[in-house]
Symmetry: C2
Subunit: 431 residues, 2 copies
């Protein structure tokens, strides 16, 4: 059951669903051909926004947490996908070193780690956790809410290999988005598989690069389906050279906000959409939904008070923001018990392995939901509901709805693949 889709039962999104369903074999084959040319990220999660008239990704995470929010029914899919991924990358793999975020005191995050350990153990790996937190000098055991335990161990760097005591992994899996930059201990590991690669870290990655790649992917896909690509991508533009303290570059920002609003207004008119367009201004790198601002009028930026500027100007770790992404806002029209909700799709290798709704009771439909106070409702995924049921009325079938979400999630994953190829510092230049 799709929880309380209040607007989605009519309008363009149902036409999209219909077209996606009818084209299923063609879509799957298209992905298959794309994956012949491109390598999927090892794992990823994509936040989607379904505005009723359009459906678009707004965040693609290459170090997904939240695996604990997947239901037990989804785990066999994740295990199978992990097996396929390992088989391709390093079939001889025996030991996997998992490197978590530093904020591992968070019990939800701990359950995420426990789920990842479970998935990769079942896929046939000995999994141990090594932490970048240098204050941990000895193996440290953490009790989890479900009475199981996790042990964090200090990393041991030996020449060109990263290890733990008595544990030499052939593969290192990062579940740490490297927001603070690339630690030395992770560099020059040419003998081991480091996944995702270092340039997927937020110290290097740029949202603008991702959404540029996504726009390219969306246009290719829209051509396949004979549809307007705007229905599946948010217009985005990067603004550089900002200094929120001195106000430098705010004019340029204002101009871009205005440009995106104008283009969006034109599109709304074309589709007869009555709503007021908005844009979202967010730092061009970094995750956790920090420093995200909703703007309905470029003039609003005139009155940007000091607090707002501070909020925009600094990320959680104190680094200042000089480059932002101005992105067409996509409201989420989905509700669960009257709380605003957005679907999140989880992928491993090239497979959708699960998903859930992120729900926030205190946020509006045009606001970021990835904020303290959010909760998670599994997508009704258990009863093979990501398997489409042709013939159902568009919008009336959770399986069909979720199949469409899985397609858009995979488009964003494919964009991440394009993005990582374009930004790979070791790539040979064939141009």
């Amino acid at each position: 059951m799709v929880p309380h889709l209040i607007t989605a039962l009519t309008g363009p999104i149902n036409e999209l669903e219909q077209r996606v369903l009818e084209s299923m074999p063609a879509i799957e084959r298209w992905f298959r051909l794309e994956w012949m040319e491109h390598t999927p990220p090892f794992y990823s999660s994509v936040d989607l926004r379904n505005a009723g008239f359009k459906l678009a990704p707004v965040d693609t995470n290459l170090f997904p947490g939240g695996f604990n929010n997947l239901t037990p029914e989804m785990l066999p899919l994740a295990v199978q996908a992990a097996m396929a991924a390992i088989e391709k990358i390093c079939p001889e793999a025996k030991n996997l070193l998992l490197i978590p975020e530093q904020h591992f005191r968070n019990s939800f995050y701990q359950m995420n780690l426990a789920t990842l350990v479970r998935i990769f153990t079942m896929a046939g790996l000995n999994v141990r956790l090594g932490t970048l937190d240098e204050s941990i000098k000895e193996p440290t055991t953490i009790a989890l809410p479900d009475a199981s335990t996790l042990t964090l161990e200090p990393l041991v760097r030996q020449r060109s290999r990263l290890m733990l005591k008595d544990f030499d992994p052939c593969t290192i899996l990062l579940n740490n988005d490297l927001s603070a930059g690339t630690p030395d201990v992770l560099t020059h590991l040419h003998e081991q598989y480091l996944l995702p690669p270092l340039h997927a870290g937020w110290g290097v990655r740029r949202k603008s690069q991702h959404f540029r790649a996504y726009e390219e992917v969306a246009k290719k896909f829209a051509k396949l389906l004979g549809m307007d690509p705007w229905l599946i991508y948010p217009q985005s533009v990067a603004v550089d050279g900002l200094d929120f303290d001195t106000g430098q570059g705010l004019d340029a920002l204002q101009a871009q906000v205005d440009a995106v609003l104008t283009k969006t207004r034109r599109k709304y008119k074309e589709y007869g959409i009555q709503e007021k367009p908005f844009v979202v201004v967010k730092p061009d790198s970094g995750s956790y939904g920090m420093g995200i601002m909703t703007v309905r009028d470029a003039k609003d930026l005139d009155d940007l008070g000091r607090r707002a500027r501070n909020k925009m100007g600094a990320l959680q770790d104190g680094r200042s923001v000089s480059q932002v992404l101005v992105q067409e806002g996509v409201a989420t029209h989905e509700r669960i018990h009257e709380a605003v909700a957005e679907p999140v799709v989880y992928m491993m290798d090239r497979y959708v392995v699960g998903g859930f709704y992120r729900v926030h009771a205190e946020r509006a439909e045009d606001e970021n939901l990835n904020a303290p106070g959010s909760s998670y409702v599994p997508l009704a995924f258990a009863h093979s509901s990501h398997l489409p049921a042709p013939g159902e009325k568009p919008g009336a079938s959770a399986p069909n709805r979720f199949y469409m979400y899985g397609v858009i999630g995979r488009l964003a994953m494919l964009a991440a693949s394009y993005e990582l190829e374009a930004t790979d510092p070791d790539a040979e230049d064939y141009a």
Copy 2:
């Protein structure tokens, strides 16, 4: 929930379960390494027998029917595995021609076909059905019990390609075990992928070859786990040159039956098993459990009446049986509502995608259950129950029990891979 395991809560099978669970990462890696050297069959199903003290495959089907007996929860796993299989074999694949059994009037078999069509459509293929039944000259639509339809079309052979009208497949999937031999229309199709290969058909395949390969696999696996391989394989020996009409070769058969019974008796003594050993005599090729005989004493063959001889001497299509397999009988100690049950594991590519119990109320625990009157109970597979839960008491956990079944099923699949390599007529001889 494991349905009514009446003997399985104690004894060697629980030690096996324990060892399998503890060795999970090593087992999964071992399979991974085997699949680097060997190609898994495209799909397969394996009938298992759990005697409480031993667990062994008794039939490995390379043209599995019964996909309709998998629960909807299992389908996403099958779709994902189908995607992985297609990606490896022919990533450009667009059209899949599925060739069913001739007895497609059976409504259960029709639902099996519908399930296969669904799985491969969702994996991104246009699927159509072409029949070997030459009486079908026009597309023929069949109404299924669930109100959907299937259309069977006549095959069109054009030079070196097999097609349907307006349908040129790059891949042909057989769901027909070719018991009656290889039809000309399927030979010399060198431009298309024909799966499984023709030598997997029962016109060519021999059970003795399969169980010889399985014994080899079981011994390798048992070495990995440090256990007695007899716990997972049935002793088997082929007897050739039989003529049930004239009684020719019955002496040799009797001698082999006696030899297998003696060896089994010795093993029972070693393990303190009180039961009376038996052997199963079955035709060395062919499926459907035709012509299977349970023998508790070699002398019983003296009194083999004409009816029994007729039963043994002829398969369903009237061909006479001249070669049989004498196999150590493995009783099934599993019961569902007092009916005898045996687990069946379904695999696609190298993945376990589901399973069920085959149940027969009118058969004994030492008899073949694949007979008219059998019914099917899904393995409680839905709630990620093929994902093992370490720490559970052996025998008490359905997930752990089913994980073990999946491991033994995959050993039989690996044996089929060895077998098909050994019997491949096109293989180059590196010896």
